[in-house]
Subunit: 231 residues, 2 copies
DNA sequence: TCAAAAGTGTTAACCATACACCCATGC
DNA sequence: GCATGGGTGTATGGTTAACACTTTTGA
């Protein structure tokens, strides 16, 4: 920390992360049970104070590692909440991020100042500490808005997935059914899916084709300014 | 300020505002010439430290009033810049806002810690202090993205305007020509323009019809979740 | 009467939507 | 052989995009 005397007002600054995942059925969020006051025992978003020598993004990555064992995830800044009185400890400003993780990378275990960390279905969240319910709401709105023009959905799926997996994910996020034929037409037409030499096995129905998100192709298309209307 | 000892790391937090205006020809930004170090004499975005008892939005409104005499403008949070080393005074986090003002409400005069404030065409900005050039870039991207699905353009025009004014504004922001007939069809079809009983006077060509943005009607439409594809 | 910008419709291409049946597989 | 989900095409209506001339006004 910086110990020199500063000549300007200073405030506590936290980062908080809405980490979203998808288990094949429902959208989920990582919450941690607070081990210390305030809101001791309540569920909250993972996060904590920004230290003197780290950027906001470094801070949120460190907290996610410490509190939930999460690393290497898609992260994006969401909004900064700075109302006076949003934290009982004093004037604390929170810069919120949202993150997306693939099912594989889910250790989600406890850390230093949080006694537990676990996934909750977004449709069944407990009461949250601070103004975190509001933060979650903003994050879900943002994801819903973003998914229809940017391929962020792939950050929630395993490397290999079927078109039905992708469609079910979109339906879970948008909370409405989508037409199968139109959905397939659109995604295959976009040219950002790479067909793999693999199909499902051991399923009691016709085995589905596996695909992979073609990042390189997507970047080419995005660079030429194509309008990615996904749904 | 809060004088009690705090048990968590603290940082300076500033707000900075990209205030955009439109003079009928070009998009413009308010800049202030810094009267104090660091970057004394350089042009910078209006802004300053957040005090202990004000929200971020209160802080940015206060700074805009003090430094540029601006009040009552459309304001929206843009992004929070928190890299270590972005400010030579130490670890300072900046929450940036962008604002839109109508030509009428342009006092833009000097205040306490800024010796001058004035408008610059966005296409001819001087070298800016801190990382403010980056902040401006982010703000312009945001405005360009936003204008195509939300009627923020009206915040940059006088109460009464012609369809040609509106079109020229869109062309200035998007930096490309738009088709006159299609532009008119779309905006008139949207039903968010109120035709006034006034026309231009003293112009050396057919006098244009004046319109007004119909906020009430817009809110009705927005509430029923209509997709406002504007351009 | 000229210059300058306002105002006005139609057509063709494209895109979004709605919709139903056969196929492959495991049990 | 049946239950389960995978995979496929077409027709229709709506939306977007391209395009040029007449009108009004002041100088």
């Amino acid at each position: 920390m910086n110990n020199t005397k500063q000549h300007f007002p200073q405030h506590g600054v936290t980062v908080d992360a809405v980490v979203l995942g998808y288990n094949g059925e429902a959208l989920q969020i990582v919450l941690v049970k607070r081990a210390i006051e305030p809101y001791k025992g309540a569920w909250a978003l993972p996060g904590g104070f920004v230290l003197a020598n780290e950027s906001l993004e470094d801070a949120v990555k460190r907290e996610l590692q410490e509190e939930a064992g999460l690393a290497e995830l898609y992260l994006e800044q969401l909004y900064t909440f700075g109302d006076v009185g949003r934290d009982p400890r004093g004037r604390i400003i929170s810069c919120a991020y949202y993150g997306l993780v693939r099912p594989g990378s889910h250790p989600v275990m406890s850390g230093s100042d949080a006694s537990q960390a676990r996934w909750f279905d977004v449709s069944a969240l407990p009461t949250l500490a601070f103004d975190h319910a509001r933060v979650v709401r903003v994050a879900l709105e943002r994801l819903r808005a973003k998914i229809s023009y940017a391929p962020v959905g792939f950050e929630l799926l395993p490397e290999r997935f079927t078109l039905s997996h992708l469609q079910r994910l979109y339906e879970a996020i948008l909370d409405r059914p989508l037409d199968k034929r139109n959905f397939r037409k659109r995604f295959l037409g976009l040219g950002i899916l790479k067909e793999l030499d693999e199909r499902e096995t051991g399923v009691a129905h016709r085995a589905a084709q596996f695909y992979q998100f073609d990042v390189k192709r997507y970047r080419q298309l995005a660079a030429t300014g194509f309008g990615m209307k996904l749904v």
